[in-house]
């Protein structure tokens, strides 16, 4: 069992660009949550996807959007990147109760 996988591992973008991050949940898990973790901080909830729908959203602007596919994998898209978007982006998978059980290794995004 590969657990939760995320790609890419690292990414460098410039301000104003757009980025897509990908997540494959643990086998058998149908719910994916995305978190942003700035240096020295705890993970901050972006949104959760279940049955291809956004089930709940945190306090993030509309520049952050997502998608869940029929195989439960998910993408996080961020438009019009700002310097402050530089962070580690974590994906967590779970069953339909939504409790994030297993996290992936994260994607380190640097915005220059």
């Amino acid at each position: 069992d590969a657990g939760v996988t995320q790609s890419p591992t690292h990414l460098i973008k410039t301000r104003g660009q757009q980025v897509t991050l990908r997540c494959s949940p643990k086998s058998g898990h149908d719910t994916v949550s995305w978190y942003q973790q700035a240096l020295g901080q705890g993970p901050q909830f972006i949104f959760q996807y279940y049955e291809e729908e956004e089930r709940q959203r945190g306090n993030f602007p509309d520049r952050f959007s997502g998608h869940q596919f029929p195989n439960y994998s998910s993408e996080l898209n961020v438009n019009a990147l700002l310097l402050g978007d530089s962070a580690l982006y974590l994906c967590a998978s779970s069953l339909n109760l939504g409790i994030p059980q297993y996290f992936g290794p994260g994607t380190r995004l640097t915005v220059l």
Partner: protein, 113 residues
Amino acid sequence: AQSVSQHNHHVILSEAASLELGCNYSYGGTVNLFWYVQYPGQHLQLLLKYFSGDPLVKGIKGFEAEFIKSKFSFNLRKPSVQWSDTAEYFCAVNGVGTYKYIFGTGTRLKVLA
């Protein structure tokens, strides 16, 4: 405002010492409470959870946490730590019926052999 506070950012203990990591939350409503752990080189994972009932919750590897509603606290404890407990520990809360999880800033625990 909804928040979780972990006042100890770094803790250093010797093996066999007792551990207590503090967690206080601010949330207007009924909550579920969680502790997560990230071992060196590994991913964040769920350590234990409280939904309702007995306020003393037991998790894996001898960890336990006690929910004290009047103090809005959910402290993590272990009677005797081991070197392998070296990790970063995060406390989290979510409102019952919601899917938004609020994490604290984490406590880095180092256990000296």
